[in-house]
């Protein structure tokens, strides 16, 4: 009698651990040379909504010599049962212990999931530190946006994959397979793998610090290890490996629909945005490819909704044409289209109108800052007229609820900019009243997050506001945004503070992570689990000061802990962008054909590729 069948009825949402979803791949363990566990350091519903998982699952399972199975972070109730019954972390497909796999591949989407990675290693019986793992241990690799500043996790990950992984994963697996055949000792293998473009083997680098604790140098300890690791990109995005038979969960997940990526990269150049810098150059899929893939996905999943995903789908050149064709082909079967993100313009309202047959849900726009001055600082090309016209159009078209996203704590921000948020919100509310939206239905939600300076962005040198200052700003807004029809939401400033620490952190933070794990910090992205006090305790125990990391201003000339990771966007360009920001000068979008010279295309021998046509 399976012990799992005894435990699962006792935990919340047991479908998270049951497997057996439609399109799950079950390969014979003994038929392949390499077994990879894809490990997502958050709960099932979040991990299953990550398109990258579906892509890697397809690539690795399509190969005859490899298999991939999935594992997610068990929710604390399940973890408790697993520890009680001595059940190691297991994969969903074959229910084998994660420790039995050859490779465990984590994705680092979010700084605050780092302790979940550690906890999953612990639940698998894999030593936390790379240096403590022996030949029998799986190789622990990690990728994703947080791998662009890998240093806080350097002690725990054997190899980082920098940038897009579609091609790299296969090269890496080839290398692992050969290493295994030749019975290469772990360290020799890491040395060999570090020569693959895009692979960073942190154990082969030494970090030197200045007397004040700042990193002064990260350099290879051995001949042949690259001094800088450059990110990988897929040049032919149109033909990139694509999951035609994605997993369809049997329980509701965050994005419970077809996720069809139409565009990669965003070149609008918002200066706080890490995704915009990391995902260059911009590459669009051909409309014919999108339509063909959509048809295959409707068939293979049975979903009733196709979401056209990207960082900014209204920027996809042929977007209207593609939406129209998709609706023509699939609407009569009850399959709709949705757009995850909208630009602040009338065109986007038109698109939303086209895809939404019933206008119930709210529309979301992100002006990010309350005044034109500050929007110029962050290079958010949205004007007040844009916002007011767009929201007026949305109200006219029958929407009753509008969500506005703002950020506080941006460089150069003053209380006047906060007043600007209040004023904009009230003006939008007023437009709703003028459009005669029923009073009890009219809702303008102001959602405010705190600025977190991120590596590889023009604001990477900027300090974050102190925690006290962020809280003061939140209160400042809260008292001024009290009005019928206005809803004010804000993110926990303590969480943003911790994010800022790890986003620009260095290797010394490894001790903090270990202490935090011992103190029970996990699932910190979930407000019910985040506990700032515990984190501060972890810092005290490690003898480190979190504010030193979050609130520091770096100088242009000085070294940065992530200097050895090359995102393709040059440091010179980021510094230039930073200077322009401070003097309020905006920069054009390179998709228009004007290249402001971020350095990526010449450095990576790539170029923007647009699908053309409207």
């Amino acid at each position: 009698m399976d012990v799992l069948d005894q435990i699962l009825p006792l935990v919340k949402k047991p479908a998270r651990y049951a497997g057996g979803e439609w399109n799950a791949v079950h390969k014979e363990w003994s038929d392949v040379d390499l077994r990879v566990a894809f490990a997502f350091p958050d709960v099932y519903e979040v991990g299953m909504s990550y398109l990258g998982l579906q892509i890697f699952y397809e690539i690795v399972n399509r190969r005859v010599d490899t298999l991939m199975e999935r594992v997610f972070a068990p929710w604390p109730d399940m973890e408790e049962k697993m520890r009680e019954y001595n059940l190691p972390l297991f994969s969903l497909e074959s229910r084998r212990p994660v420790g039995d796999f050859d490779v465990v591949a984590f994705t680092l989407q979010y700084e605050m999931s780092f302790t979940n990675v550690l906890n999953m290693l612990d639940l698998s019986g894999i030593p936390l530190k790379s240096t403590e793992r022996d030949e029998k241990c799986p190789l622990v690799i990690a990728g994703g946006p947080c791998a662009f500043n890998p240093e806080p996790m350097a002690a725990f990950i054997d190899l980082f994959a920098i940038g897009e992984g579609e091609e790299l994963i296969s090269e890496l697996l080839d290398s692992v397979r050969k290493g295994k055949q030749r019975a290469l000792p772990r360290r020799d293998f890491l040395l060999e793998a570090s020569r693959l473009p895009g692979v960073y083997a942190p154990g082969l680098y030494r970090v030197e610090y200045r007397t004040d604790g700042a990193v002064s140098k990260v350099k290879p300890v051995q001949e042949g290890v690259p001094a800088r690791v450059t990110k990988r990109i897929v040049r032919d995005f149109d033909q990139a490996p694509f999951p035609r038979r994605p997993l369809v969960p049997s329980t509701e997940v965050v994005h419970d629909r077809i996720m069809l990526e139409v565009l990669r990269g965003c070149t609008r150049g918002c200066r706080f945005c890490q995704a915009g810098m990391l995902n260059r150059p911009v590459r669009e899929k051909k409309p014919s490819t999108v339509l063909e893939q959509a048809a295959a996905l409707v068939e293979s999943t049975g979903y009733d909704e196709i979401s056209l995903t990207s960082l900014s789908t209204s920027d996809y050149t042929p977007v209207s044409k593609v939406i129209k064709s998709l609706l023509d082909q699939h609407a009569q079967r009850g399959v709709g289209v949705s757009l995850p993100s909208l630009r602040v313009d009338n065109f986007s309202v038109e698109l939303a109108k086209e895809v939404q047959r019933v206008r119930r849900s709210s529309l979301t726009f992100a002006p990010e800052a309350g005044t034109q001055r500050l929007r110029d600082v962050i290079n958010k090309g949205v004007t007040e007229e844009d916002l007011l016209e767009t929201t007026a159009a949305a109200f006219r078209e029958g929407w009753r609820a509008i969500k506005l996203y703002f950020m506080i704590g941006l460089p150069t921000e003053t209380d006047e900019d906060l007043d600007g948020i209040v004023r904009l919100a009230k003006e939008v509310l007023d437009l709703g009243r003028k459009a005669r939206v029923p009073r009890n239905k009219l809702r303008v939600t102001v959602s405010v997050s705190s600025f977190v300076p991120k590596a590889h962005t023009p604001f990477q040198w900027e300090p974050q506001d102190t925690l006290a200052e962020l809280k003061r700003k939140q209160d400042y807004l809260a008292v001024r945004l009290k009005e019928r029809g206005l809803v004010f939401n804000y993110h926990d400033a303590g969480l943003s503070f911790m994010e800022a620490v790890f986003a620009r952190g260095d290797r010394r933070l490894e001790t903090v992570l270990i202490h935090a794990l011992e103190l029970g910090c996990k699932f910190d992205g979930w407000s019910e689990y985040f506990n700032l006090e515990r984190w501060l305790e972890a810092f005290r125990l490690s003898g480190l000061e979190p504010a030193w990391y979050a609130g520091r201003r770096y100088d242009y000339e000085g070294p940065l802990p992530w200097d050895h990771i090359n995102s393709g966007v040059s440091r010179r360009y980021l510094a230039e962008e930073h200077r322009r920001a401070l003097s309020g000068v905006t920069t054009v979008d390179c998709r228009t054909g004007d290249c402001p010279g971020c350095g990526l295309c010449p450095d990576l021998e790539a170029k923007p590729s647009l699908a053309g046509g409207v």
């Binding site: 009698m1 069948d5 005894q6 009825p9 479908a15 999943t301 049975g302 009733d304």
Partner: protein
């Protein structure tokens, strides 16, 4: 529009699909199978799929029922074939029948269900001891369990009148309990409650927990065949 009654099993990983998720799972499977599902009209259309009686998450079902409405006639044999090929692991279509015009709603038909619970024994138990434990359990004039009412308050509830039969047998170190319970929208007796109460009162040396199965659902009319056809 034509309605088809399906008898299916919900086992393996599918036993953990919640009642709410099961609707979505069938909807997607039907769409993959290319079946023309009928939808309710109105603001928030949902597929016209109706289940006989919710099954607790984690309890397997060996003969469950659902009615599926389509917008046009489809031969029973092709529903059987196509839908069988698109259900996720653990959901197995046993039989499909076309319903007559005036067939009563599934939900209103269900009156009783039979269940089976299996557990591993820590130490041997004789058949006689097991029989005596069951006899003692059924001999009680009331069996009180705690339930939460809609307001979330704890209420004491007597489940004894809803237990119609119970027996037990042994298969090496596995103990198997079988029972017939009142089921349906009124006075529903949950098998977990019965197993829990029995485990507490009988004190048999069980290791871990019982694994639960619902073996059939039936109406008062078809007590002998035990089906909902």
């Amino acid at each position: 529009m034509p309605v088809y009654r399906m008898m299916y099993a919900k086992e393996g990983p599918a036993r953990y699909i919640s009642h709410l998720d099961l609707l979505r799972t069938f909807e997607r499977a039907a769409r993959r199978a290319g079946l023309p599902i009928a939808f309710t009209s109105g603001f928030n259309p949902h597929p016209k799929i109706a289940f006989a009686a919710p099954l607790a998450v984690g309890t397997a079902g060996e003969a469950e029922y659902a009615d599926l409405e389509l917008v046009r006639e489809v031969p029973v044999s092709s529903i059987q074939r196509d839908l069988s090929g698109t259900l996720p692991e653990g959901l197995r279509l046993v039989e499909v029948r076309r319903l007559g015009e005036r067939a009563p709603a599934l939900m209103s038909m269900v009156e009783r269900a039979t269940y089976r619970g299996e557990a591993r024994l820590k130490s041997a138990v004789s058949q006689g001891a097991l029989d005596r434990a069951i006899e003692a359990f059924l001999g009680r004039s009331e069996i009180l369990v705690q339930r939460k009412n809609k307001a979330g308050e704890n209420r004491v509830y007597d489940i004894r009148p809803g237990i119609f039969a119970m027996s037990g047998r042994l298969d090496n170190d596995i103990i198997i309990i079988e029972t017939e319970l009142k089921t349906g929208s009124r006075d529903n007796i949950r098998f977990e409650e019965v197993v829990e109460a029995f485990s507490t009162s009988s004190e048999l040396p069980i290791e871990g927990k019982y694994v639960l199965y619902r073996t059939c659902l039936f109406s008062a009319v078809d007590k002998d065949n035990k089906t909902l056809w």
